[in-house]
């Protein structure tokens, strides 16, 4: 297993929104902890197809369908970046720590104070379309801060390695697979296509 060294707060934020964020010497560390990946699995990933002839309809949907890329970025860095951004963009932040199923506490005090209120409100306020839009907003904001370019893509190609979250959360396994493919694209896609506003 290849362990990323960028995120140094493992053990502090073991699970999303779970532990108190102790003072870190690394202010810029991901609040979701370190991410790990299997180097062999990554080596077997197939680079998604990005070449297409854009139609006016494609160009009109670039606010929904795009990919990120950045020069001089390796897969490990891109994967750490994209999983951190996914952490901010999913409805409720969750762990990236692997196999353990998170056990959300829904008991007396805790349930009342935060998660339950937030969940109920989010469900009431955000219809699925709005949730999908907010995910895009947060991914763009986060990856934009990190200096990634945003390149337009056709919906058909986009769907091959991306997912949307409206009514429910993406399954963890397919989520991580998609994030790895997005990281592969972010690290290896050539500088081509129109760079869109962040």
């Amino acid at each position: 297993m290849h362990k990323l060294s960028r995120a140094l707060v493992a053990g502090v934020c073991v699970l999303s929104g779970v532990a108190v964020q102790a003072e870190s010497t690394e202010l810029s560390a991901s609040p979701f902890g370190a991410v790990e990946f299997d180097a062999a699995e990554v080596a077997s990933l197939q680079m998604p197809k990005l070449e297409f002839t854009a139609t006016p309809e494609d160009a009109g949907n670039y606010d929904k369908y795009y990919y990120f890329r950045r020069n001089d970025t390796d897969f490990a860095t891109a994967y750490a970046d994209i999983t951190e951004c996914d952490g901010y963009a999913r409805a409720l932040v969750s762990s990236f720590k692997g196999a353990d199923v998170p056990y959300p506490y829904a008991g007396t005090l805790a349930g009342a104070a935060g998660g339950v209120i937030a969940n109920a409100m989010m469900a009431a306020i955000f219809v699925p379309g709005e949730k999908r839009r907010m995910r895009r907003v947060n991914m763009r904001q986060c990856m934009g801060f990190k200096g990634y370019e945003r390149i337009g893509l056709s919906k058909e190609l986009w769907e091959e390695f991306n997912f949307e979250e409206g009514t429910g959360a993406e399954e963890e396994e397919s989520r991580l697979k998609a994030l790895k493919l997005q990281a592969l694209v972010a690290a290896s896609a050539p500088a081509a296509g129109k760079v869109l506003p962040r």
Binding site: V18, Q21, A29, S30, I117, M121, R140, Q141
Partner: protein, 293 residues
């Protein structure tokens, strides 16, 4: 309905059962607005006060940084919740085993789903900040005519500016990717300066760009107090101190809202891409090095 509605108060009001039948859950932060009045403000020497100027009525959310005592109380709370979760699990497991046995006896019954066992590794509990926070605004401005400001009485301590959000409304902007902390000490007004649109990020999004962060996740600029900053005459007789802002790291988006970061503040916090630069620490180091030479 009383205007004072901090999230902690709401949390307390919603408790069906306390953490333990014998124990009251801790209240980490108490906060209430100081109302707009013509009279000079009288302060409680045991409380801290935070003052902030805003362009209009808006919410601002603050989370407490745990003291050693807070941390100990939080750990105790978490441990109690874990015990409760384990007890719930044991009950759920027994029910599961009963239902499973029944489902094997009758072909018409659906196989039950096995409950997830809570362990120390997978147990999700609220962050301290979700239990210890306060919100300024949107209502109860200290000044609403000829300017706009909020004055809040709060539990003394260190706080992080979490973002432009009222958790009760559930939408706003989290300064998840960088913010500042400040100390609010008892018996004085900590002046947070002014909040307003960020000139460096005020352009509207392109037409049709539905996912632009420019509008949906627009963070306001914070301008610390300086010699030119006007002071509300009602605060003139009080001990006022400019907030000593310190760069703070990233934090989870536990409200599930739009994310951003506090814009750079000269001498306090800056950014290199998403790397947070603690300018105050850098300046302190530079001064210390200069003094040692």
């Amino acid at each position: 309905m009383k205007p004072l509605l901090t999230s902690i108060a709401l949390a307390t009001s919603l408790l069906a059962v306390p953490v333990s039948a014998k124990e009251k859950p801790p209240v980490f932060v108490e906060a209430k607005p100081v109302k707009d009045s013509k009279a000079a403000v009288t302060i409680n020497p045991a409380k801290a006060y935070v003052y902030v100027r805003t362009p209009n009525a808006m919410p601002l959310h603050f989370v407490r940084i745990p003291s050693a005592d807070d941390q100990a109380a939080y750990e105790k709370l978490k441990a109690a919740a874990f015990v409760e979760a384990r007890e719930d699990y044991e009950k759920a497991l027994k029910k599961y085993e009963r239902d499973l046995a029944l489902s094997k006896q009758s072909s018409g019954l659906k196989k039950p789903k096995k409950p997830v066992e809570p362990t120390e590794a997978n147990f999700q509990f609220l962050s301290f900040g979700q239990l210890a926070n306060f919100t300024v605004g949107t209502f109860n401005r200290f000044q609403s005519k000829g300017g706009s400001s909020y004055l809040h009485e709060v539990t003394p301590g260190t706080y992080r500016i979490y973002g432009q959000v009222d958790p009760l409304l559930g939408f706003g902007v989290c300064y998840c990717m960088g913010s500042v902390t400040f100390e609010a000490n008892a018996g004085q007004v900590t002046d947070l300066g002014s909040v307003g649109p960020d000139p460096a990020n005020s352009e509207p999004p392109e037409k049709g760009d539905s996912s632009s962060p420019r509008f949906a996740a627009n963070a306001f600029a914070w301008t610390p107090v300086d010699g030119e900053t006007a002071i509300d005459p009602r605060l003139a007789a009080l001990t006022r101190v400019p907030a000593d802002f310190r760069a703070a790291g990233k934090t989870p988006n536990y409200m599930g809202i739009a994310i951003s970061r506090i814009p750079a503040i000269s001498g306090v916090i800056g950014y290199e891409r998403d790397k947070i630069v603690d300018l105050k620490a850098q300046n302190g180091t530079a001064l210390a090095e200069a003094a040692s030479q």
